[in-house]
């Protein structure tokens, strides 16, 4: 495997609040290779969004990353960077698309204002001497904005630049977000549930578009979703998270065909799909509360195969076949 572009090691994160301490991430380990699309799946509260926000340095101020955590981007630890250094990584190094494009686009600026801002910053970073206030430069930025909107399939891009976010449909807004995220030519794009708010026909459009744009740009992607079927469409590899840890990490389609961790197996079998029995498989109980200090395997209380030993140390990810890692005492 080539040198990973992103490698997360033992990432532990807590949120401090009036109601006490919440353990969001409890030792996450994962790698993304250059040009790879990594799917991250898990249920709400498993820490998948916190992972993305920690990576791009946008965590809220009440969060605390514990000692010993590492997020290496091209070999450099993002967690020890200053704000100024991190600012340079954002956009040109790592960019992000959020779940709900209506709240992540600024409602009082036009699409053009927001998109050309990304284009302009990228241009200034490439050429420090560039005078971005010159008319010729401004026209150049606008042209690039138009070409980006055309590339993401927005009809009549010239007039779309003049519109405000509320004038576009959800699918169109998400296309704008994708064009903004890619405009600075990032090496890694984080996509946090990019299609969860969209209709299924629009989702199919956006997934296909993302896959082709990312392939053209040669960027790596961390695709976060609660939907196993969505990540199956574009990911090379999938990581399954549960209660703040990675429980399984395997290539596609192996993870769907031969899931090893009891949680992954249960998650796959509880989905309604053609040919499923009238009574669906269920996972009993609920995920552990984030307020409890993690100990042992977090899935043990719901697991059909749990033994005494599961309450001991939290199992580490083990490679059981080439590229297939699982954190379970059964293997």
């Amino acid at each position: 495997m080539p040198e990973p572009i992103l490698s997360v090691r033992n990432l532990r994160l807590v949120f401090e609040s009036m109601r006490g301490r919440f353990h969001a991430l409890n030792g996450v380990k994962l790698d993304i290779a250059p040009g790879e699309v990594l799917g991250v799946v898990g249920e709400s509260g498993c820490g998948k969004s916190s992972l993305a926000l920690a990576t791009i340095g946008l965590l809220p101020s009440n969060s605390r990353i514990m000692n010993g955590s590492e997020i290496l981007f091209n070999g450099k630890n993002l967690l020890s960077m200053s704000d100024g250094e991190m600012e340079l990584v954002r956009g040109t190094g790592i960019s992000m698309i959020f779940q709900e494009p209506l709240t992540s686009l600024n409602p009082i600026f036009t699409i053009g204002d927001q998109l050309t801002e990304a284009v302009r910053i990228a241009a200034i970073r490439r050429d420090r001497k560039l005078d971005a206030t010159k008319r010729s430069a401004k026209e150049e930025f606008k042209e690039q904005g138009v070409s980006w909107l055309r590339r993401v399939g927005i009809p009549d891009p010239e007039s779309a630049l003049e519109r405000y976010p509320h004038e576009l449909s959800g699918g169109m807004r998400q296309r704008v977000m994708i064009s903004m995220a890619l405009a600075e030519r990032p090496a890694l794009m984080l996509a946090d549930e990019p299609t969860s708010f969209l209709d299924v026909t629009t989702q199919a459009q956006i997934l296909r578009l993302t896959a082709s744009l990312v392939r053209d740009a040669g960027a790596s992607v961390m695709m976060i979703s609660h939907d196993l079927a969505v990540v199956a469409q574009i990911s090379d590899r999938v990581v399954v998270m549960y209660a703040g840890i990675v429980v399984e990490d395997a290539p596609v389609p192996e993870i769907y065909e031969k899931p090893l961790h009891p949680y992954t197996q249960a998650l796959l079998s509880c989905l309604p799909r053609p040919g499923a029995a009238k009574r669906l498989e269920m996972i009993p109980g609920a995920p552990p509360s984030l307020r409890d200090k993690p100990h042992g395997c977090p899935y043990a209380p719901r697991c059909a195969y749990a033994k005494e030993i599961c309450n001991g140390d939290t199992p580490k990810l083990k490679e059981v076949s080439p590229g297939h890692h699982v954190a379970c005492i059964l293997y």
């Binding site: 989702q203 079927a229 309604p272 669906l280």
Partner: protein
């Protein structure tokens, strides 16, 4: 043939879009801007069966649910429940027989009411015998998978799945014959969704209720329903038995919708029929088939005449001038 519980005929619900404050006698503001949310929907639902309604956001599925239950007054059309035509005025008597579970259990439960009071409230309409009501509430808690310790909790002390169980409990406490389920699992995680779907299946087996199951999720609707109706722009474009519709869709929109549903094995991108363009505005829709601007098979007749639902196979109805033959 099973007995019919609910029949809906040419149900319409229009909303004024913008404009003046004045209403004409049919309750529509005279602005010329009218949203055709539900635009002539007819269907029937048998006792102890489930009709799934599937469609994308804005197609009118929630408005349909509300209009069937008279939670919003239909603009025109008739709803027959056990052969009796429903009117706004008689709903107080009929309401215990027809209940609803809403999508979001975080906003459909009163945050200041205890769990037991939430479930007991519908009973105050039916009878006032408190001892019996208390017993009934405790039985319901058991049936929906909540324990006695939850009786005095407030909604915010419960998880999403538990709240939805509570909402189901509130709906079935009056022993209704019809329950409308409006996206009952859309706000839930996959593992919780399975729990709620199984609960609904069990309750139906036990009490022989009929469900009108509304969802945007094709797989969930397919799992739960005997018959499925596909809605687009306020109209049913295709209806049939679950298997027939899913394996042999005939309306071009149904074909696109089904092929867009992601599956666990990566789909061949060429098999996914990509939809063209955007959903048109439901304000003053153009004449003809509402899907014609996006349909690859549209001809001039599609843009002029609105197709009617016609039977093309046993119990399989399609509203299309050129139903496709899906043979693969």
């Amino acid at each position: 043939m099973c007995a019919e519980l609910l029949r809906v005929e040419e149900l319409k619900k229009y909303f004024p879009a913008k404009g003046t404050l004045f209403y004409n006698e049919s309750g529509v503001r005279e602005t010329g801007h009218i949203v055709h949310a539900v635009d002539g929907v007819s269907f029937s639902l048998d006792i102890n069966s489930t009709l799934g309604v599937v469609g994308e956001s804005g197609c009118g599925k929630t408005t349909l649910a509300r209009a069937v239950l008279m939670l919003t007054k239909p603009t025109s059309g008739n709803v027959y429940f056990e052969g009796q035509q429903l009117s706004y005025r008689m709903m107080k008597q009929v309401r215990p027989e027809m209940q609803i579970v809403f999508q979001d259990p975080f906003s459909s439960l009163d945050p200041r009411m205890r769990a037991r009071d939430i479930v007991a409230e519908p009973l105050t309409v039916v009878s006032k015998q408190n001892v019996e009501a208390k017993k009934r509430v405790e039985t319901i808690f058991e049936q929906v998978g909540l324990s006695a310790e939850h009786l005095n909790k407030l909604p915010n002390e419960l998880s999403g799945g538990q709240r939805q169980r509570l909402a189901v409990g509130r709906a079935i406490v009056t022993r209704p014959k019809l329950v409308v389920l409006d996206e009952p699992t859309s706000a839930l995680d996959a593992s919780t969704q399975a729990q709620i779907l199984n609960l609904l299946t069990d309750l139906q087996d036990q009490y022989h209720m009929s469900y009108l199951f509304i969802s945007h999720n094709v797989n969930v609707v397919r799992h739960m329903s005997n018959r499925i109706a596909v809605m687009y722009m306020g109209k049913i474009v295709e209806t049939g038995t679950g298997e027939e519709l899913m394996t042999k869709p005939r309306h071009p929109y149904t074909c696109t919708l089904i092929s867009s549903v992601p599956t666990l094995n990566r789909q061949d991108p060429d098999k996914v029929i990509e939809i063209k363009g955007e959903t048109p505005s439901p304000i003053n829709p153009p004449p003809g088939c509402a899907y014609s601007p996006r349909c690859p098979f549209a001809t001039s007749v599609c843009r002029e005449t609105t197709p009617r639902l016609e039977e093309i196979g046993r119990g399989h109805y399609v509203a299309c001038h050129h139903p496709t033959n899906f043979n693969n």
